[in-house]
């Protein structure tokens, strides 16, 4: 018994000592960040890694992920700790529940400004026809955007088959009465088809009208202009009609696009490990839309990895990120570059 007691006591002492040591050396422990499989999220994860490691002394591990798998893992296992760019519409209910129970925190409700989905035209078109700033104005001019297979109609480029936005755009087509206005849908077939049709048109200086989303390198590269889609047509119209197939709802009404809920979310563990400072950083960390698009263009043009792009961002956009951290931390990060 004596031996066991001795062992126990010494174990507690040793453990306590190590614990104390860790606390003394770093304000922050080990955390993991989800590195999502698209460019902007990849860049944000890498920037967070550099700032949290160099500025706050955390040890950061990046874990590859995608929206739903990462969220499920965060919700069930509490890992990874941070999802820098989480498109919340996909799991809004579960997320609200988890935040309510205190297992997760929605730290930043707008990590990237000016993001969202909608209808776009190239800047050259707007230059030639400055009145085309709204969806309604564009829809009145199908003659400017000839359909590739029927030049008497206007061509409206929509999402590839099977994407949720394919359905929404088809319902929008009905809701806005586009057929009567002389429009016809252009089926794009695949992401490459949608991207390619836009790239081809803009490169040649042709007009193009269709669906896209930001932040993306294409929107940044071609400086595409998003159209004002007017008033929100009501929650019922969106959730019960526009997102449903035609046979489920035959009477969609016109509406602007739903606001994309993109958050930075963390587990409770992150709040404990990274502390107030870490939470404060994530709360303040907001990328202006044009900066993010610019970085995506840089990544696409140079075929750069997120890690390289993060260094480029920290070097080039000091004015942006130094506002997210205290002067002392900023100095530490600058010194490490």
């Amino acid at each position: 018994m004596k031996i066991i007691k001795k062992l126990l006591i010494s174990a507690i002492v040793v453990l306590g000592f190590t614990f104390f040591n860790v606390n003394a050396n770093a304000a922050c422990g080990k955390i993991s960040i989800a590195n999502m499989n698209w460019a902007s999220a990849n860049l944000m994860a890498e920037v967070d890694k550099v700032i949290l490691e160099k500025g706050y002394g955390c040890t950061v591990e990046l874990i590859p992920g995608a929206t739903m798998p990462t969220f499920t893992s965060m919700n069930e296992k509490g890992e990874p700790d941070v999802a820098p760019e989480f498109w919340a519409n996909a799991a809004l209910e579960a997320l609200t529940k988890a935040t309510g129970e205190g297992r997760m925190h929605q730290v930043n409700l707008a990590p990237i400004k000016g993001l969202g989905e909608g209808w776009w035209i190239p800047p050259s078109t707007l230059e030639k026809y400055p009145e085309l700033t709204t969806a309604a104005a564009v829809l009145a001019r199908p003659d400017l955007f000839p359909h590739p297979e029927d030049s008497s109609k206007g061509g409206f480029h929509i999402c590839p088959p099977g994407w949720a936005c394919e359905l929404i755009n088809k319902q929008m087509f009905k809701g806005w009465g586009m057929e009567a206005k002389g429009w016809k849908i252009v089926e794009t077939g695949s992401a490459a088809g949608l991207d390619g049709s836009m790239a081809k048109a803009v490169e040649r200086g042709d007009n193009w009208f269709g669906y896209y989303w930001s932040p993306t390198s294409l929107i940044g590269k071609y400086q595409m202009v998003s159209l004002d889609m007017g008033k929100w047509g009501g929650d019922d119209n969106w959730h019960k009609c526009l997102v449903k197939p035609e046979q489920d709802c035959a009477t969609p009404k016109q509406s602007s696009w739903i606001k994309s809920e993109v958050y930075t979310i963390t587990t409770d563990n992150f709040k404990k490990t990274a502390g107030k400072d870490g939470m404060k950083y994530l709360k303040k960390r907001t990328y202006p839309g044009e900066v993010m698009n610019g970085m995506l263009v840089y990544m696409a043009d140079n075929q750069a990895e997120g890690a390289d792009a993060a260094i480029e961002f920290l070097k080039k956009h000091e004015d942006v990120w130094t506002k997210w951290v205290s002067g002392k931390v900023a100095k530490k990060i600058k010194a490490s570059l």
């Binding site: 590739p148 089926e187 490459a192 390619g196 049709s197 081809k200 048109a201």
Partner: protein, 294 residues
């Protein structure tokens, strides 16, 4: 030692510059000539649109009747005609009629283009071994290069839609008809050729009235293969905006709709079997004809 452990690589920057250079020069090319090339294909586009509209707007019993008639002309087999008619009725019953007609339109035009382009190339290859040596590697490349690779330049050059889809299909489906035309003409009996030369036939007469007729069964096997390969490209063509049975399949893939994918996939299979059996029977009948003559 380090030389042996690590393969010499171009440094990252020059590699990037090289890739960028290729991209940019292609972009310049497409900016300069894209419209002209598009214009060149305009007649083909209007033909495709016309054919599809015709197939969709003609009353279905007439369309099915014509298909049945074609099957009869090709195969002279009542079974096949009945099979063809049943297949099309079932496809229509399951709501795939319009997509099916779009697919039939693009497959027929693709086959036509492949025959018009492929047979002359095959004849040239048979006439000159040098041409054969230079074209064979190109055919190999066309058959093996992943289609996604050539979709990128095609989209940049021609955009999305029917014509780029047709070209993608033809790139993949052209080689069999070229290869088998070449083979068929080369296989024509030497003695027969000597005989017709002895009668003083000019090379053109020899080609048109002896070599091509005698190699028709082989050429027809090539056409059959071309149709099969064109059908195999239906889904890929849908990825660049060609309407047809491929579109619902793409929808099914991204949403795990088992039934939708299966139904449209089976419709493609049904089309393939009809085309295959009819053209094969036709080829066999030609062969029988030759056998009698011999």
């Amino acid at each position: 030692m380090s030389f042996f452990n690590q393969i010499p690589t171009m440094d990252r920057d020059s590699l990037r510059e090289l890739k960028k250079g290729i991209d940019l020069s292609f972009k310049d090319f497409s900016r300069a000539y894209g419209d002209a090339i598009e214009g060149f294909f305009d007649p083909l586009l209007s033909f495709l649109i016309w054919l599809e509209k015709l197939l969709v707007s003609t009353p279905w019993p007439i369309v099915i009747g014509i298909f049945g008639l074609l099957a009869w002309i090709g195969s002279r087999s009542i079974q096949l005609v009945v099979g063809t008619i049943t297949c099309f009725i079932v496809i229509g019953y399951f709501g795939m009629w319009e997509n099916c007609m779009a697919t039939v339109a693009i497959i027929s035009v693709a086959t036509l283009v492949c025959i018009v382009v492929g047979i002359p190339i095959g004849v040239l290859m048979a006439k000159s071994s040098r041409v054969e040596r230079s074209i064979l590697p190109i055919l190999d490349m066309m058959q093996t290069i992943p289609s996604f690779v050539y979709l990128i330049p095609i989209i940049m050059l021609l955009g999305i839609g029917k014509v780029p889809g047709l070209i993608a299909v033809c790139i993949y489906a052209l080689p069999p008809v070229v290869r088998l035309t070449n083979l068929g003409i080369r296989e024509v009996d030497k003695e027969t050729l000597e005989a017709c030369e002895a009668f003083g036939a000019t090379p053109l007469q020899k080609l048109i009235s002896v070599q091509i007729p005698l190699s028709l069964p082989t050429i027809f096997a090539g056409v059959n293969q071309t149709i099969m390969m064109a059908l195999a490209m239906v889904v890929i063509a849908s990825m660049i905006g060609v309407k047809g049975l491929g579109v619902p399949i793409l929808q099914a893939i991204s949403n795990q709709y088992l039934a939708l994918g299966l139904m449209n996939g089976l419709a493609i299979v049904a089309l393939a079997i009809i085309f295959d059996r009819v053209t094969q029977k036709y080829g066999q009948r030609m062969q029988k004809h030759r056998g009698q003559k011999k």
